[in-house]
């Protein structure tokens, strides 16, 4: 390392640390005037202590017990209804892409231990199916479900009906066209060739447009907000709104970054899609839903703000941990490793808040489907991130890099964390939009157990395979083909786990369609009313 570079490294590190200290100071001295009161803004007056859960039986849902409280409650119903067309189109599209994307995932998985499977045509070759899987689940499912949930939460967070709903509806249509064209292009062999950036840059323009159209209602609604405090979820959503277009634009500018620099930009982008796009959406949703269902504010509002700013500072610099050992200047890799380890600060603050708020109420996951999905998702966020910090250490990465271990981590994050939270959010949102309850609690239960067991098998088998594969690769005495053969049983186990997950998704989608088309068991009741039938997931 040359002295100038070492100096630069030290400077950026100091800058991050100083930034963090300034923020801690400003938060602790109330520069942002965010006291614990801000944590209560998500409740209507008098609602605290009451659970807002569509699927709870033992206590009746809170509808307000004074005039003011009743008015606030009615206002919230109006807010929920204001976002209905926009949220429904984003969520329905997301659910559709989940089904398509996981179907491609299963296909790719089978092809990895059974290479002759559908191998005769280029349309179904592994190298095209796999990126179609990734892009369908990242840009189709995760992003669209996340935006749908944000559109639903924003009027509630700002306590005013959503303005500019048609923009969001148009945005969804354009976004869908983008996903269709992008997947088609990959299938036709027109991929741009970089992981997470496979969509041709000409198509990427549609995502920028669709996303920008979505930003309009968010900003309009924000401008009319009637709340004094900005709840922490809105911090994450607002920031994600700034980050994603910026990232997506820089990474997709064609023909600027050659060779090795291209690789750094590629991974700077890819990890920021994870860290500064889907993660803020996931954590922001959990920050709203957990306290709401428990009827209890998060335990430390200040901590949540430290968590937010330290996430921004550290996560934005971790991208190069995907190139450890690669042909990249060492200072750059070291910088990302340091920040990866520092990521434990935001992760632990978020963990204290999520799990601390849950403390003493863990039994509630037995009855509430939403809480069960969301809290397990939050727990897996903690797990994935701590695992990630370890994986970024050179001594661990030298083994796990290039192996199935990374894939296991990727699904722990994208599935057990993010997708679980999104499932929970959809179970929460849909009854409030359609004014009816989910038709069959058993289907929710079946969905849960299929995907939970599926991802467990997926994660355990690939983690084991990856670790063994990594150790063997380092030792040239083991012939390569022997390593390939050794992983096959684990890859088969992954197909089994993936098969269960896909089955779970089919159950979920069928239930979702029944909900939308108002068929199936009708358990009536206005959105915020508790239902009368037994709707408890066991």
């Amino acid at each position: 390392m040359t002295p100038t570079i070492a100096l630069l490294l030290i400077i950026t590190f100091l800058l991050s640390t100083v930034g963090l200290l300034v923020l801690i100071w400003s938060i602790s001295t109330n520069q942002f005037s965010n006291s614990q009161n801000a944590a209560r803004t998500i409740f209507t007056p008098g609602e605290e202590g009451h659970s807002e859960d569509p699927a709870r039986e033992d206590t009746s849902a809170y509808k307000g017990d004074s005039k003011a409280a009743k008015e606030a409650f009615t206002a919230r119903r109006v807010q929920d209804q204001s976002s209905k067309p926009a949220v429904l189109i984003w969520l329905s599209s997301a659910v559709f892409w989940l089904l398509i994307g996981s179907f491609y995932g299963l296909l790719a998985s089978i092809k990895m231990h059974y290479p002759e499977f559908m191998a005769d045509s280029q349309w179904w070759t592994f190298g095209r199916i796999r990126p179609m899987h990734l892009n369908a689940v990242v840009y189709g499912w995760s992003s669209m479900a996340g935006i749908g949930a944000v559109l639903f939460l924003v009027p509630r967070l700002f306590k005013t009906p959503l303005r500019g709903t048609p923009y969001a509806v148009t945005g969804a249509i354009i976004w869908n066209i983008g996903v269709i064209l992008g997947l088609g292009a990959i299938n036709f062999g027109l991929s741009d060739g970089q992981e997470w950036l496979e969509f041709p840059w000409q198509v990427d323009f549609l995502f920028v447009l669709g996303g920008a159209l979505c930003a309009v209602p968010l900003l309009l609604t924000c401008a009319r907000r009637t709340v004094e405090h900005l709840y922490v979820s809105s911090w994450y959503f607002l920031a994600a709104l700034v980050w994603f277009p910026f990232l997506f634009f820089i990474a997709n500018v064609p023909k600027v970054f050659p060779g090795a620099t291209g690789a750094t930009v590629n991974w700077w982008f890819a990890h920021n899609v994870l860290g500064l796009w889907v993660t803020p959406l996931g954590i922001g949703i959990a920050y709203y839903i957990i306290p709401k269902i428990l009827g209890r504010p998060i335990i430390s509002y200040k901590l949540s703000l430290i968590g937010f700013w330290s996430l921004a500072l550290f996560y934005s610099q971790v991208g190069i941990h995907h190139l450890i050992g690669g042909p990249i200047p060492t200072w750059l890799v070291t910088l990302s490793i340091v920040h990866s380890v520092m990521m434990s600060i935001p992760v632990i603050t978020v963990a204290i808040n999520h799990h601390g708020t849950m403390w003493g109420s863990f039994g509630r996951i037995k009855e509430s489907p939403t809480l069960r999905f969301v809290w397990i998702g939050a727990l897996m966020y903690t797990a994935t991130s701590l695992q990630g910090s370890l994986m970024a250490l050179r001594s661990v990465n030298v083994i796990t890099h290039f192996t199935h271990y990374t894939i296991a981590h990727a699904h722990l994050g994208m599935y057990a964390f993010l997708s679980f939270i999104l499932f929970g959010a959809i179970y929460f949102i849909m009854p409030r939009l359609t004014d009816r309850e989910w038709p069959w609690r058993r289907m929710i239960s079946l969905h849960f157990w299929l995907v939970a067991i599926g991802i467990l098998i997926y994660f355990v088998s690939l983690t084991t395979a990856g670790w063994l594969q990594g150790l063997a690769l380092l030792d040239a005495k083991t012939p390569f083909l022997e390593i390939v053969q050794m992983t096959i049983p684990y890859l088969q186990a992954r197909s089994l786990g993936g098969g269960l997950m896909v089955a779970g998704h089919i159950v979920f989608v069928v239930h979702f369609i029944f909900m939308l088309s108002r068929r199936g068991a009708m358990t009536q009741g206005p959105t915020l009313f508790r239902v009368r039938t037994k709707e408890i997931s066991q």
Partner: protein, 201 residues
């Protein structure tokens, strides 16, 4: 509105800082890096092959970045070549470094396996030369004809892997792909980057 602006500006500023350290600074440093004199530019055919490599997703199973032996000695011991340096990638748009080694590193496959016929047989059916491989067959890069023309490249698959009757010829794309694979030869000398030792972290 001020607080909303503060959050959004703060978020933008932080990302700007990260862009500076992770995009701009590496760009400045690495574009100043010397290109090794032994690096040859791609021919038209090799570029077409590279496109075929991308279109069929070879990079999801194959990396192109041997690591330093002081860090991961397995890469050298398996014959994957000297550690790559930024200059080696000067002609690569986009980079194809990869993140998986479901199959071996291919940065020096042209030197390790210079036989065109081996590659063609392997691509048509990896099992024919590597029994038990999980690499997918790429039969769609070949054509099955009654009688090959004078300019066609014929592949002689060892039985029982051939098509039975008739002859097997390679498509233009298939030839280009193999040309690209053979061009993957970075055995010329290049100064290595200083590497961190494992125990540093």
């Amino acid at each position: 509105m001020t607080r909303v602006l503060a959050i959004m500006m703060g978020a933008a500023f932080i990302l700007l800082l990260a862009t500076l350290t992770l995009v701009v600074m590496p760009y400045l440093q690495m574009s100043a890096e010397a290109v090794p004199p032994g690096l040859k530019p791609y021919t038209q055919q090799e570029l077409m092959g590279r496109q075929t490599y991308i279109a069929n997703g070879c990079m999801y199973c194959h990396s192109q970045q041997p690591r330093d032996p002081s860090f991961a000695s397995g890469d050298r011991d398996r014959g994957w070549g000297r550690p790559s340096v930024p200059g080696d990638y000067a002609n690569d748009w986009p980079h194809l470094m990869g993140t998986m080694r479901t199959g071996p590193d291919l940065f020096n496959i042209g030197a390790r396996q210079p036989s065109e016929d081996w590659h063609l047989i392997h691509l048509y059916n990896p099992q024919a030369v590597m029994k038990g491989s999980i690499m997918p067959p790429y039969r769609f890069l070949f054509r099955h004809v009654e009688k090959a023309g004078p300019n066609d490249k014929v592949v002689n698959m060892p039985p029982p892997y051939g098509p039975g009757s008739g002859q097997l010829i390679v498509t233009e794309e298939g030839m280009a792909l193999v040309a690209y694979l053979l061009s993957l030869d970075h055995t010329y000398p290049a100064p290595t980057l200083p590497q961190a030792k494992i125990d540093e972290e």
